[in-house]
Amino acid sequence: MSLIRITGLSRHYVMGTEVIHALRGVSVAIERGEYIAIMGPSGSGKSTLMNLLGCLDTPSQGVYELNGLNVADMDDNQLAEIRNREIGFVFQSFNLMARSDALHNVELPLVYAGVPPAERRERALEALRQVALADRVHHRPNELSGGQRQRVAVARALVNRPSIILADEPTGNLDSRTGTEILALFDQLSRNGNTIIVVTHEEDVAQHARRILRIRDGLIAADEVNQPHHRAEAPPRLPPVLTPPPIIS
């Protein structure tokens, strides 16, 4: 059974008398552990698709099955639970809570999951360690660099051990070097077995994925297998935990 199976998914927006077809019947299956990039020109419907996959939005037509369950059958509370447990979001503009420190930001999904405080704290610290921010737990977003903020966001996406990590232009607000840092983080997460879907319009970013979906005018134009390659001249500066263990021969 596929982790995600969408069939004939479409989404249109009615604006006055005009109907905008953002998605026009997309069908795709995504397996557990895949690392997928969604590419396409601006306005092609990438974010629309992402929002549907993330259960933030409901399709106009078509079927979306997540873990074999039809999302259309779920009510508001069940969808909230799905977003909480199954999906981890990483946004282009980080979307952290400005008044809370890194730790509390990462704890938030666990608060909504009803995890008791002690366990919550422990798991949030663990997630922050995974993104190499153990020394910044009590910093607020405005006391962190852009890259660090996005790492907090990634930790928040990870903390409830979701089935899928959805990232809509996660490097869009970062300079190329910090962007690479985040991508290295994704590579690591992917190696650890996480399912990752990244929306981007940078070919460099897409090259990290093993499958690329190209979208044009609300339709999938191409579904390619990709051989990820890292250019040798720009090795990502990885924090220690993320560095693959040295191979001892």
Binding site: N51, G54, L56, D57, D76, N77, A80, E81, R83, N84, R85, F89, F91, N95, M97, R99, S100, L108, P109, V111, Y112, A113, G114, P116, P117, R156, N160
Partner: protein, 408 residues
């Protein structure tokens, strides 16, 4: 446990949000502050009134029936019918005392006023009470000095008197009042006793500025045919109705009221006052409730307004929270808690403002802001917060996650 955790999270968010908007939150809560001030003052005043009344009414005694010409509560048309009733007489009082089996003591009482003098000191228009020997028991008075009027003194219309504590203090500040002869109206009366301090009646009359003289003396010196009240203390308070019936029978016979004709006297008791007061108190409270309700309503609208602004400003935050798993209930709780916090804060400020103002009421009514009143005011504030915060919070809770995330 889980819900407590959720509330705690909501509190943290609310405090953070309010801290970053102190001035705005402060200004919009002004309405609630005023509302809470009115609630508190109103409650304190009503409370004071109640207590003043209870204190006064207990002086009347729940076990005493007052046989008088008129009912305490006579309507205008009744007044026309009853105003020609014959006076009650001392002889009738004596007969009542002799015939009644349910009466423990029968006192006679008449009221007038006279100037009182001693040497070069004088007091104008002092309240003069004509009493009999048993009136002490009926009235439940206690004395700090001396004794009450004796049967012989009442019988013989002796020129003796018992004076109130204020008069005693005024005329004899340094010496004992006993044995002094003060002028009450036309005659010189020897002081045989001093009453314990009683304070004011709720009508404002000073009970410590009174002179008690034998009723027989009262009729010769002050008023020839006074409106006598026969005050009957009943043995058993559970048999007040039976006592009333018995007294009615005795009096109808004494006053020769033909069968079938209505009584030409009235039997009054404390309970009537209580009932009447509760009626007035009830409508007073209702009016108070309405006025405070009005100001709280205005305050509530202020809170609602600010909560709509808060929701609009934080639409994106709501979107993010929903994206990471917040349910409608979580968002609703978050904004309700914020509204309650604003209102509770306003409630506290309101109490702080109202407190010194209750001292002013205290000056007239001996009222204090009580703990229950303060707690009730805070509860009212919290409820106002919940009610006025509900619509904005509900709107926030129902936001569609994508739309919320896209805002800004």
């Amino acid at each position: 446990m889980r819900y407590a955790d959720e509330i705690r999270e909501a509190v943290v968010i609310a405090v953070g949000a309010l801290r970053s908007n102190k001035l705005r939150a402060g200004l919009t809560t002004l309405g609630i502050v005023i509302g809470i001030v009115t609630v508190t003052l109103m409650a304190t005043a009503i409370d004071g009134l109640n207590r003043a009344f209870q204190r006064s009414i207990s002086m009347i005694g729940a076990d005493v029936l007052f046989i008088q010409r008129f009912s305490w509560f006579t309507g205008r048309e009744e007044w026309a019918k009853t105003r020609n009733r014959r006076e009650l007489t001392l002889a009738q009082a004596r007969e009542v005392a002799r015939l009644s089996t349910l009466a423990r003591a029968v006192g006679v009482e008449a009221h007038g006023s006279a100037d009182v003098r001693y040497g070069n000191r004088s007091a104008r228009a002092v309240w003069v009470v004509g009493n009999s020997e048993d009136s002490a028991l009926v009235r439940g008075v206690s004395l700090t000095e001396g004794r009450w009027l004796s049967a012989a003194e009442v019988q013989g219309a002796r020129p003796v008197c018992v004076i109130g504590s204020d008069l005693a203090a005024r005329f004899f500040p340094l010496e004992s009042s006993l044995g002094k002869r003060i002028r009450v109206g036309r005659s010189l009366c020897e002081v045989v006793g001093v009453l314990e301090k009683q304070g004011q009646f709720f009508t404002g009359a000073n009970l410590d500025n009174q002179v008690v003289i034998p009723i027989t003396r009262f009729t010769t010196d002050l008023v020839r045919w006074p409106d006598v009240t026969i005050a009957v203390k009943v043995w058993d308070t559970t048999r007040m109705e039976a006592a009333k019936d018995e007294l009615t029978g005795i009096l109808r016979q004494l006053r020769r009221v033909p069968p079938g004709m209505p009584d030409d006297f009235a039997i009054n008791q404390q309970e009537m006052l209580v009932r009447n007061f509760n009626q007035i108190g009830g409508s007073l409270a209702l009016v108070g409730l309405f006025i405070t309700g009005l100001s709280l309503f205005v305050g509530g609208i202020g809170v609602m307004n600010i909560m709509y602004v808060s929701v609009a400003e934080r639409t994106r935050e709501i979107g993010v929270r929903k994206a990471i798993g917040a349910k409608r209930r979580n968002i609703l709780t978050q904004f309700l808690v914020e509204a309650v916090f604003i209102s509770l804060g306003a409630g506290l400020v309101g109490l702080a403002v109202a407190w010194p103002m209750t001292w002013v009421i205290d000056y007239f009514l001996a009222a204090r802001m009580s703990i229950p009143t303060a707690l009730a005011a805070l509860l009212v504030a919290a409820v106002t917060g919940i009610v006025s915060g509900f619509l904005p919070a509900w709107r926030a809770a129902r936001l569609n996650p994508v739309d919320a995330l896209r805002s800004e």
